[in-house]
């Protein structure tokens, strides 16, 4: 499985490590090389400095043949742009955007994008902790949770 991750923050780096360890061919991209310090020292994938919202950069990295694309920068809007670029211009089959503002997250879910929203997930987890039913949308990637995603090859 070929995976592109845009944004090497805590989430991006953590996902890159776990996917590459289970056999994914991972390319992670960030505008700052310092961000790559978050990766484990023996990270086997590619870490590339560049703008993940630039379609030429993504094409050069082979995004058009990728199986998975995760937009995980700290900017909701940048993630929305990168994810739609991957889905509509580069035709990546599985695309997920991290959008932390719940209103924006809901809007993009309604537009058919697979969205993961930290705010919704935390609210859901804490609500469940106190015995409430929680928020069904939290962590739901709109049908975008194929079980083979984490299988080793």
């Amino acid at each position: 499985m070929r995976t592109i991750i845009v944004g090497c923050g805590r989430v991006g780096a953590g996902l890159a490590d776990i996917l590459s360890r289970s056999g994914h061919e991972v390319t992670i991209i960030d505008i700052s090389t310092q961000a790559f310090n978050r990766l484990t020292s023996d990270f086997p994938g590619q870490a590339i400095r560049g703008d993940g919202t630039d379609q030429d950069v993504l094409r050069r990295l082979g995004a058009e043949t990728a199986d998975y694309f995760f937009a995980l920068t700290e900017g909701d809007n940048r993630n929305a742009l990168a994810a739609q670029l991957a889905r509509d211009a580069l035709h990546v089959p599985h695309v997920v955007a991290k959008i932390n503002d719940p209103v924006r997250a809901a809007a993009y879910r309604a537009m058919g994008l697979a969205v993961i929203c930290r705010t919704d997930m935390l609210v859901d987890a804490l609500a469940r902790y106190v015995g409430l039913p929680g928020d069904p949308r939290a962590g739901n990637l709109a049908g975008e949770t194929p079980s083979h995603a984490v299988e080793a090859r």
Binding site: T53, D54, Q55, D56, G75, D76, N77, R78, A80, L81, Q84, L85, D88, A89, D101, V103, R104, A107, Y108, A110, M111
Partner: protein, 225 residues
């Protein structure tokens, strides 16, 4: 008409002023408090110090009754999100986005932005006008994205020089539109004779511009040093 402008940079500021002068109802959203206060001092209480990318702020600005939302910040991703939120969440009939990277122009159209304004391309067009290359000048792209308005400068050695419009067989879907001779603009008729110095404005399909250039002005000249 009620118009929401997002982004209080130079473009947003002058746009808001012009719209107010023409009698429109305008709300300007600017997220930087100092910039917002500065603009409010100059043009009054139409400024909201809010981030227009956030749904609740667009709602507070009255997005559900806006006829137009114009996103003109310096960041392409912000402009896209504002327009998509306006369109899909608030059913705003017309959205306008400024794009700064040429590469995003087509994508924004495909993602449902009604009007894409690209200052980089406009500046490029203006610069091309000053460069004597024998190429088609790109005047405007039509909203469908596959048709473009182009201009051809006819020189003495251009294949079109000395011929009538009737003799110039352009690819299907391409039309000679007007001819600019000196300061005079006239429509092209079948018997219009093309002269060196004329400028021909044509509507051309994007995929047959090479052919149009070949018929009107010949092969591309060497790039000037």
């Amino acid at each position: 008409m009620f118009i929401i402008v997002v982004g209080g940079g130079k473009v947003g500021y002058y746009l808001t002023r012009e719209l107010l002068t023409s009698g429109h109802e305008v709300v300007l959203l600017e997220k930087d408090p100092r910039r917002a206060a500065q603009i409010a001092d100059e043009i009054g209480s139409v400024v909201l110090n809010r981030d227009g990318c956030e749904g609740k702020h667009l709602a507070a600005a009255g997005a559900n009754r806006a006829s137009i939302v114009a996103a003109v910040t310096g960041d392409d991703e912000d402009n896209l999100v504002v327009c998509q939120m306006a369109k899909h969440h608030f059913d705003v009939p017309r959205t306008i986005a400024r794009v700064n990277s040429n590469k995003n122009e087509e994508l924004f159209r495909r993602l449902g932005v009604d009007e894409v304004i690209n200052p980089t391309r406009m500046a490029l067009g203006a610069i091309e006008q000053d460069i004597p290359v024998h190429d088609l000048l790109h005047l405007a792209q039509l909203s469908t994205g596959d048709m473009e308005l182009v201009e051809a400068q006819i020189e003495a050695d251009s294949p079109a020089a000395g011929r009538t419009a009737r003799d110039l067989v352009l690819p299907e879907g391409c039309i000679l539109f007007v001819i600019i001779r000196g300061d005079v603009v006239q429509t092209v008729r079948p018997d219009t004779a093309i002269q060196p110095g004329d400028k021909l404005v044509a509507l051309s399909r994007t995929d047959c511009q090479d052919e149009v250039r070949h018929i009107l002005i010949g092969e591309r000249a060497e790039t000037p040093a």
